[in-house]
């Protein structure tokens, strides 16, 4: 088995949650694998992350350079091509950084690429059996990936159990001098922070959340009425914001807000991992969806197979009559 590497995403001196999930993923590929973490960045933030990660990985490869204080995927790709052996298996989180880096990196490394992996089911020779999902989780697939000449594998955040044992006392190996050319044709300018809206859904205790199942802008009234009856706020999935029917600040998910309500009513939402990624604190989740096979029913506590356009107004009426 080739060496497995885990790329550690971090921000403000703190490793991302995926840092301790990638090691579980690596051990699922091969329980005996030796797994090294790769941490790139600069200065005190980088030092702090390396130290933290060394409690999980036996080896931490550190690349320190001011040019990658902000993680520019183009520069980091060049560095990884320089430091990784040809048959390396590299795990990246399937987040906005991993999506930016992984596919192109696999081409430059001349290795295989698999995106958004949710599980592994064994290694047979150089064939790795992988589980993925398609159609926002409506169906799953098994894939065979030949890792004989290396692979870049993007792992879905949250899919593997975090290893919180902190049982390693890893060695930090400084490979900054092997980084090579740090020129790039894409340069980071600034981060524009998302605007704050009229309601702060991150503080809401009860959310009536609507998805594409609401079908039409005019139907949003139905959700507003229910929310008013319940004393709740209205939130939504991404397509509702893409259609400009609600403000971005009401979007729940990885590219929206992270909410932690007591009760979450998912209405006409299929349950993609990017949407679920924005729901924390295990709220009591009710899903109303007309498709019994919608993935949201796998994660909800209570499911109702109904048309929201008919069901929600009746529910509102009942609550108003109480």
């Amino acid at each position: 088995m080739a060496q497995i590497y885990a790329y550690i995403v971090h921000k403000g001196g703190v490793a991302d949650d995926t840092a301790i999930e990638l090691i579980t993923a690596a051990k699922k590929i091969d329980p005996d694998a030796s797994v090294s973490a790769i941490v790139t960045g600069s200065g005190a933030d980088l030092e702090a992350v390396c130290k933290d990660v060394a409690s999980t990985y036996n080896e931490v490869i550190k690349i320190d350079n001011a040019a990658i204080t902000y993680p520019n995927a183009e520069i980091i790709r060049g560095i990884l091509v320089n430091i990784l052996p040809g048959d390396a298996v590299l795990l990246l989180p399937h987040d906005t950084f991993g999506m930016d880096l992984g596919p192109g990196l696999s081409i430059k490394l001349e290795s295989a690429f698999v995106a958004d992996v949710v599980d592994f089911e064994g290694l047979d020779g150089s064939n790795l059996k992988i589980v993925r999902q398609e159609f926002s989780g409506q169906v799953s697939t098994h894939m065979l990936c030949d890792i004989g000449s290396g692979a870049v594998v993007n792992i879905r955040p949250g899919a593997f159990t975090p290893d919180e044992s902190k049982s390693a006392s890893g060695e930090i190996v400084d490979k900054s001098s092997e980084a090579g050319d740090l020129a790039a044709r894409r340069t980071f300018l600034e981060t524009v922070v998302a605007e704050v809206g009229d309601v702060d859904i991150t503080k809401s205790e009860v959310l009536v959340s609507i998805g594409r199942g609401i079908e039409d802008e005019d139907n949003i009234e139905i959700a507003n009425d229910l929310a008013e009856a319940l004393g709740a706020d209205v939130s939504c999935s991404r397509p509702i914001v893409d259609s400009k029917w609600l403000e971005k600040s009401r979007q729940v998910g990885t590219s929206g807000q992270t909410v932690k309500p007591k009760v979450y009513l998912a209405c006409g939402i299929s349950g993609s991992f990017q949407h679920l990624g924005g729901i924390k604190g295990s709220p009591f989740m009710v899903a109303v969806n007309k498709n019994i096979k919608a993935p949201i029913f796998q994660v909800a506590d209570v499911g109702i197979v109904e048309d929201i356009l008919e069901f929600l107004p009746e529910l509102t009426e009942k609550i108003n009559d109480m």
Partner: protein, 263 residues
């Protein structure tokens, strides 16, 4: 500005429930409604708007079977200037790298300033844009939700990152961008628009036109292969409330009261 947009014909998830077929070799494709991949449609709209602002040409290209012609035509009805279909039996079962290799071969026949793909399609991999950029050795930005054409050497692009924040970048032209939904409001395409382009010829290019070795694409060239489709056993799942709508509502209200969902 010469712009090329890669588009894919996919089952429309807003119109269909996607299910695994009886032997698990594929999804059940009987009676599926297809459309252009949502992300790609935003990319075409963006390309059209850029062309209308700074001049130039928009070419839409799709790898697929002959049915994919319909989505190319749809995007031409939207305003793209021309379309090319890349189709060959040898392309079947290509992995992401195979698809990117096919697109690369077509792109190298022309000269483009800006190449766009959707951020992802039906399989949620989001891989073709980044691979294509690396193969063409062009700079790349994924998940782009703002584009500002500053001049003809470099442009400003915003990438939507975690939390909905926007990472602003300057990127040299030519480049490859993968487009995130919400970047614009794609225009509506009516029957009349489709009719107008119904007889426009859409060239079809296969392996020999593209100078591709047949073992570089398709199943032969793939190091990632799909074994089967399945429905995972997910354990318990939700308690499905049964009965008449009235009974369901009563049960739900009890739950909501208990869990603090009614104020």
């Amino acid at each position: 500005m010469e712009i090329l947009v890669c588009v894919k014909r996919v089952p429309d998830t807003a119109e269909n429930e996607i299910e695994v077929n009886s032997d698990g070799t594929d999804i059940d494709r009987d009676d599926l409604v297809y459309s252009v991949n949502e992300w790609d449609n935003y990319a075409v709209e963006e390309a059209i708007q850029i062309r209308d602002n700074v001049g130039g040409n928009v070419t839409v290209v799709s790898v697929g079977d002959e049915e994919s012609e319909e989505v190319i035509r749809r995007e031409m009805a939207m305003g793209a200037d021309q379309g090319v279909l890349l189709s060959d039996d040898a392309f079947n079962d290509s992995d992401g790298k195979g698809i990117a290799s096919i697109l690369k071969a077509e792109i190298e026949k022309g000269k483009y300033d800006l190449i766009m793909t959707g951020a992802q399609a039906d399989d949620g991999a989001g891989q073709v844009g980044g691979m294509l950029a690396a193969m063409l050795d062009l700079p790349y930005a994924s998940l782009v939700n703002t584009i500002d054409i500053t001049d003809d050497k470099k442009i400003k692009v915003g990438r939507e990152v975690e939390g909905g924040n926007i990472e602003m970048n300057e990127i040299e032209l030519p480049c490859v961008l993968s487009i995130q939904t919400g970047i614009n409001e794609p225009r509506y395409v009516g029957i009349r628009g489709i009719r107008k382009v119904a007889s426009v010829e859409i060239p079809v290019h296969g392996t020999s036109d593209l100078g591709l070795a047949s073992d570089a694409v398709g199943e032969a060239g793939a190091n990632v292969k799909k074994v089967d489709y399945f429905v995972p056993d997910t354990g318990e799942g939700a308690e499905i409330l049964e009965g008449s709508t009235e009974e369901i509502i009563d049960k739900l209200v009890e739950y909501l009261k208990a869990k603090g969902g009614v104020k």
